[in-house]
Symmetry: C2
Amino acid sequence: MKDRIAVGLIGFGTVGTGVAKVLTTNAGVIRQRLGVPLALVKVADLDLATDRGITLPPRVLTANAREVIDDPAIEIVIELIGGYDPAKRFLLEAMAQGKHVVTANKALLAVHGEELFEAAARAGVDIGFEASVCGGVPILRALTEGLAANRLLSLYGIVNGTSNYILTKMTEAGRPFDEVLKEAQTAGYAEADPTFDVQGIDAAHKLSILMNLAFGTPVNFKDVYVEGITSIAPMDIAYATEFGYTIKLLAIAKLHSETQGVAIGESERSASPTRARGTVEDGASWRTGGGRVQTGASEPIPMGGRAPAELEARVHPTMIASESPIARVDGVYNAIQVTGDAVGDVMLYGKGAGSFPTASAVVSDVIDIARNILKGTVRRVPPCAFQPDQRRPLRIRPIAEISSLYYLRFMVLDRPGVLSQLSGILGKHDISISSVLQRGRKVGQTVPVVLTTHTAVERNVQAALREIAAMPFVSAPTTLIRIEGEDR
Amino acid sequence: MKDRIAVGLIGFGTVGTGVAKVLTTNAGVIRQRLGVPLALVKVADLDLATDRGITLPPRVLTANAREVIDDPAIEIVIELIGGYDPAKRFLLEAMAQGKHVVTANKALLAVHGEELFEAAARAGVDIGFEASVCGGVPILRALTEGLAANRLLSLYGIVNGTSNYILTKMTEAGRPFDEVLKEAQTAGYAEADPTFDVQGIDAAHKLSILMNLAFGTPVNFKDVYVEGITSIAPMDIAYATEFGYTIKLLAIAKLHSETQGVAIGESERSASPTRARGTVEDGASWRTGGGRVQTGASEPIPMGGRAPAELEARVHPTMIASESPIARVDGVYNAIQVTGDAVGDVMLYGKGAGSFPTASAVVSDVIDIARNILKGTVRRVPPCAFQPDQRRPLRIRPIAEISSLYYLRFMVLDRPGVLSQLSGILGKHDISISSVLQRGRKVGQTVPVVLTTHTAVERNVQAALREIAAMPFVSAPTTLIRIEGEDR
């Protein structure tokens, strides 16, 4: 038995400092779990001057990352410098030397994930990245292990704390985006350059990582449809409230496939599935709806059924029922709701960022890898949940092809016949109206006409909006916000 | 590489049927994760006649559990018959034959867990029991792996769906317990004999399992303080609402120790802990409050600091702030909120029972063990999260010694001086009143006097209640409900 496992850290910033403190403060409990201690033997950062509230022995600190990567004693390298380069190079070099790696770098994984996963497979090392999504919330481990029995059908996430904080404040106080953003920057909840957070880019990075694990398919972040929260107006938040909705920046993934899984949504105590089919050793059969399906022995259920499976992958402001659990996730908290065919809905909730919550995920990954090292095993769970040769690219459905409910706010001159013309154009494009709200009549002035639709196809909605934009009574661009929920 | 892993199932009831259906329906996705299929080769149940909506080949079914236990091909045995005997015997026999086991049997684990864990250690096999707590919610894996970097400080759980369903209905409709219980029984949400659910026994079983994993200590269910929901009156629910509280049957565990972990509750973007201390390779030091702590190399932080650590372990109706996430967990859903010193608060939420959610956990455990088998490893994570030789019994603090906020409802004859006498007795016992509610004055009749206290010691509260019970103006027993939250 080894008497310790040596760990090296590259990046001694906010999260790196948290990792060093968790490794030291919780050395006792970590040793009780592992049987041997984790030793932080080398920490590399260009800035060795800043006081981080923790004093490391001089020979642990270095300004040269190579001293971590090349140290033969170090078995696990933690990368916490962020960005694409040199982070990627450091990870590749460490893996090439047979070292396991742990990273929180979501941008890097979302863009160069496949390259890193292949390098890990080639080198035969583990790569941990729980901290890259939702800070301390162990969502990746839930997707790869805790829910491994499920065919995963969808996931909805509030995965960016900054934008959720801003939307929460806008909703509570009815105040405009710019004002709340400035406050958030002052309070340290938003970066000086908030682009990644408020434009949905960070959320899209995380969604592509989540989808990779949930659906066994490589998803590059460039294939994710992205809209940020910068154009959300207090007026739309107020209307949402009136309709019983809350606006959240949601990361959404859905599987479309004719293969049906175990029935979900059944009565709690009933064991009779209403839609399912299956196979068991030597040809078992079980009912699906009314009929019977007989399948061959050990024949795996084809993913995708008749039509090839497709995925939706999108990040945008979304109206969701205010009473739903995820609508109630406020401030800097993150949450992800996953639906599996067996488990139904599961939600995980916690702090999505910050030094210690992120360090919790990083160090838990280190412990996981240390457990492998101590047992002489490696790559027990493939980094993307599916065996590398079992992963297959699925088509990402373009946004024009999705179906959704829509909230539309038109700014129109208030004169007779406007509503009739609006609804006429919508009807022509196969869009049926669910509810309309029009108030404060000021003939000849601009007023909002707000409506929600039944399920419609995005392409049709966009075509209708283009046609409506050309109408003489329209005095400002129309606001479109997608609604997730039942078509009532 | 093996070409399949053979699984045997003992117990073909509601959950067993769900397991068989998940294994067959999701055979494809399970194979994509594992690389090889899981084959359900033997299913034992005394009842082979009932139509379960799935047809297994005749040679798979047997009425004799020994055919599962003794089958040399079977590597993993799933026990789903429930109860203490013969479930325990079957598990012990299967392990003695070198088979890994998976069970959902919370009552058995809560009472005979240590014996089973020792048997697994002796036999060198894995024992999976994720399904024993909160159905499909992967909470045990979160405690043992996803949050492994943390010193866990507390957990609060809604872990019994039946009692939560009843309390939710009572709260929504203002209706009495007996009426709602009958309805729940008719709807299949409560058993004909609901004792285990409504008396808190099932919740205490689950709490003892959770604590075992969270705190590295054996906790027998007999050491858990238990109160059920049978005496909750609609009146108390209405008063709770008025105070801003919701009543839930909570399973509560808290660690009391002078050893402090990584600071939690710090500002999201700040990396400066306010209370912490630690050690790192070769004697690092870092600040705790104002001073500096220098510790020796590799010295583990002593668990317990100066005073030995103690645990609270209790299940009882609890008032919690209505706006807290866990107060909003309604109906048959379960949720557990865990607080770790690094991660802060994390909540997991999902269906706590039912055929398919429970099967999700069972089959995920089977996949976990299969991954070990395929990698030639075993017992990678100890079943109780801590290494067996690192677990130590901690004292469970008797209920008389706990501190809490209290809700007290006195039924008194409405006459002058009563409130003064009540508060006099409370004050004498060191109990200070936070708020009082008294309404509907009908002189000479019985009226409720409701009050909440600041933090008080349970022993003092009980002594005061005994004294008050003897007063001539008291016309019915006093209702006591503990409140979890900040002392405002």
